[in-house]
Symmetry: C2
Subunit: 136 residues, 2 copies
DNA sequence: GTGTCTTTTGTTATAATGTAACGAAAGCGC
DNA sequence: GCGCTTTCGTTACATTATAACAAAAGACAC
């Protein structure tokens, strides 16, 4: 779900949320929650870490932002409104990240090729229900 | 590189490292560094967090242990000595994890099927060098 | 617009995770 | 044993994240 479809579903893109999202799009790279907090605080737009984390949680839940656990960082979603699981090319040198909006893991390798990204390692995280928990 | 090939390459599987690895195999689930620390401390086998982190770093570097960033946890490698990138099926209900020793991301989906794991989301993390950093 | 309810934000304090730095101890080669 | 390298102990601290509760703002009926 992306920005447009957000407000049309009863969701509230409040001032703070919009500020955070704008900041992230402006920065255009993975940012830590505290870095974001400092950035917003300079402009008098954030009070304390919990506010930032709440907004990040909200934006993440609505797929406007993605969390990058390996970097303990967050990045603005660059994909089309259409919902997909997101994957990432993470450069170990410059630490920049390219989002891959992929319908399946197999496509991600092709996308890396297209970006002239020289792949060293990959890891697929699949979440869901294991055999036991899913068979209720 | 796994246990056997470790000592035959000049690497030292010291007492502490062996204890940590044994504990992790015994627990047989993702454990946080501090949980592991407490566990070891009860048995008089660990001094302080840095020791645990150092050993985890070492074991991770040698592929005897994997880190699960989404859980801030670590798990003993269950794959064959043969080196592969590791992927994971993470159950959101019981929090247990199954390692997939996969030659390519595409295989991971098939492996999930084989395990009767009901997939809800996936994310592929690819690390390497981006176009700019890799071209020199 | 007032009152009421829900959602969002502010605020304080603290938990959980991870590291820097440095000296002591243990292993290794000679 | 002696010097060198690696590992470990120890203290202190940095970074990331959350619990809990009060205040403020928005939605909505009346």
């Amino acid at each position: 779900m992306a920005l447009n479809s957000l407000t049309s579903h009863g969701e509230r893109l409040t001032g703070l949320r919009r500020d955070v999202l704008n900041a992230m799009h402006h920065l255009n790279r993975p940012v830590g929650a505290y870095e974001l907090f400092d950035h917003l605080k300079e402009k008098g737009r954030a009070s304390a870490p919990p506010a930032v984390y709440r907004v990040l949680d909200y934006l993440t839940a609505h797929d406007l932002v993605h969390r990058l656990p390996t970097l303990s960082a967050y990045t603005a979603c660059t994909a089309k409104p259409h919902r997909h699981d997101a994957s990432f090319l993470i450069c170990r040198a410059c630490n920049n990240v390219e989002e891959i909006d992929s319908p399946a893991p197999a496509d991600v390798i092709a996308a890396a090729d297209l970006s002239n990204f020289s792949l060293e390692h990959f890891s697929v995280s699949i979440t869901g229900l294991c055999r036991r928990c899913g068979q209720n």
